[in-house]
Symmetry: C2
Amino acid sequence: MITIAIDAMGGDHGVDITVPAAIKAVQHHSDLQIILVGNEAILREKIGNTPNINIHPATEVVAMDEAAASALRGKKDSSMRVAINLVKEQRANAAVSAGNTGALMATARFVLKMIKGIERPAICTALPTIQRPHSWVMDLGANVDSSAEHLLQFALMGNALLRAVDENPSPSIGLLNIGEEETKGNESIKTAAQLIGATKLNYYGFVEGDDIYKGTVDLVVTDGFAGNVALKSSEGVAKMITHFITAEFTRNIFTKILGLLARPPLKAFKRRIDPRIYNGACLLGLNGIVVKSHGGTDAFGFEHAISVAYNQAKHDFLGKITQEMAKVLQEEQS
Amino acid sequence: MITIAIDAMGGDHGVDITVPAAIKAVQHHSDLQIILVGNEAILREKIGNTPNINIHPATEVVAMDEAAASALRGKKDSSMRVAINLVKEQRANAAVSAGNTGALMATARFVLKMIKGIERPAICTALPTIQRPHSWVMDLGANVDSSAEHLLQFALMGNALLRAVDENPSPSIGLLNIGEEETKGNESIKTAAQLIGATKLNYYGFVEGDDIYKGTVDLVVTDGFAGNVALKSSEGVAKMITHFITAEFTRNIFTKILGLLARPPLKAFKRRIDPRIYNGACLLGLNGIVVKSHGGTDAFGFEHAISVAYNQAKHDFLGKITQEMAKVLQEEQS
C-alpha cells in the first residue's frame, strides 16, 4: 500500500476540493491509502466511513499569504506541518499540499532535511508539448540564482524523477539558454554544460524557451529565476490567447452561434492544455516526497497532484535519487 | 523629411521582402525617404523610379549564421554595415535590418558607439497585452547578466523610448521578478528596485511573467537572459496552442467544416496576436537609431519594422535619451 498524507485545509478552497479529490483518488488506485490532515470534526462529517481514508487531527491552518518564517515558527500544529511530519515519521510515503509555496518549502526543508549531496531543493513540473505527451522543467522558483554545481544537481534529481515516474530509462536533458551555440550564455551555464556533459546523463545540449513546448527534450534544467519567468510568461500568453478567442467568438450573435457550433473542437483543444492535468509540482532534494498543488485548483486538479505523489512513491523515486547521490559522492571521494 | 537606410539584402528573404516593404512604407508616410543598401543592379531593376526611394551600393552580405566577429572584421562593405555607416554619417536618421542579431549589434556598437552614461546596449520590443494595445519589454538578449546599474539604465532608455514613440508622458515601469513582494528576487533586482524607485521615473514595482501579457505596466525591465527566456517561451506556447487548435479543427470532415465556418472569428483572433504587427526590435543605447526585424518575416512585417524606426526618428528618441543621460550624469557629479 502507498500512503499519502494530505494537507486537507490548504489552498484557496480547503476541504471543499481536497476531500472530493481524496475520495476519487482512492477509488482510482486500489493500493492507495490517504490520511486527511486537518480539523477532525469537519473531516469526519465530510468523509463518513469511506474505505482507505483516515483522518489525522491538526488544529491550525497556514494562510495563503503567510510568511514562511511565521508558518514555520508559529504554527507547529498546522495541517501542512503535520502532513509533512507524517512523512518524516514514515507513517506516510508522501505529502500533498495546495498551501502557500514558501511555507511548504520552508517547512518541508526544516522537517525532512536535504538528501546528502544536494545543496538546494528545486521545484519540478510537467508541461504540455507538441512532440511529447509532456516535458519536465526545473527549477521553477525555489532558488533565485544557481551555480553550475546546483544545475548539475538539478539534472541528477530530474533524471531520477523521470526514470521513476515516466519509467524513462534515459531521459534527454537540455539546459535552458538564450541560444543553442556553445559560446552563448553566462559563465555558470557554460560550466554547467561541461559538468552535465561529463556525466553519464543523456545530455542533449542547450535549448531555448520555445523548446519547452516543442518537446525537444524530456527535461529542461534552468535556475529558478529563469524557470519561473518561463512558466509565468507562458501562463500569461495562454490566458491572453484564451481571452482573445473568447472575445472574438462573443463579438456578435453570428459569432456566438459559431462558438456554440465549434464547441467540440474548442473544448478538445482546451483539454489538451488544461492546467489541471499538469497540476502537482514536485519539491525535489528533500528526504521525503512532497507535492505542491496549485492553490486555486479544483478537485479534478487536486486529484492529479495526488497522482503525482502516488507515482513518485510507487516507483520509489526517493530510493533512486538517494542511491544516485550516494554514488556521485563516492565517485567524488575516490 | 525622415531618411531611413535599409539593409536590403539582410534576412531570410532579402530583396523579396525589403523592397516591397520599402515601397509600401514611402506610400504610407509622405515625409519618409528610404535608402536601400545592397546590390545596385538588382535593386535598380526592382524599384525603377519609385519616388522617395534611393539606392546606395554595397557589395557584400552578412550571412544569417555568420559570427559577429567575422561580419565585423571581414565584411566592411556589407549591406548591413553600410546602412549603419549612413546613420553614423548623418545621411540617414535610422537603419533597419533583418540580418542576424549578433552581427547587427556588434556592428552598430562598433560604428555608432554608445550614448554617454549607458554601459550596455539593450533590445526592446512591443508585445500584445489584454489591457493595453501593447507593452514594451527589455532587455531581450543583448546582455547575459545585468547589474542593478544596468537595469536602471535600461529603465531610463525605455522611458525615453516610450515618451517618444508612444507619446506617453510618464510610462509606468515594472521590474520583472519571481514574486511581487519586496523580499523576493536576487540582490541585483532588489538593488535595481531601490535605484529606479529613487528616480523620478513612474516606477510601479515588481511584476511577474504573466504581467507582461496582462499589460500591468507600460514597460517591463529585466536582464537579457530572463527577457529572452520570457519571449521565447511565449512564442513556444503560442505556437503550441495554434498547433493544437489547427489539429482539432482538421480532425475530421465535420470539424473541418466547422473550421471553415469559424474562420472569421479565428482569423480576427490571429490578427490580434500577429507577430508581424509587433515586428521591429529597438537596439537601444547606441548613438543612432537601429531597428532589428525578425529574419523570417514577410513584407508586411518588415514594413512594420520600418515604421518602428520611423517613429523613433520622427519623435526624436535619440535627442530625448541623450538629454536624459546628460542630466543624470550631471546630477551624479554634483
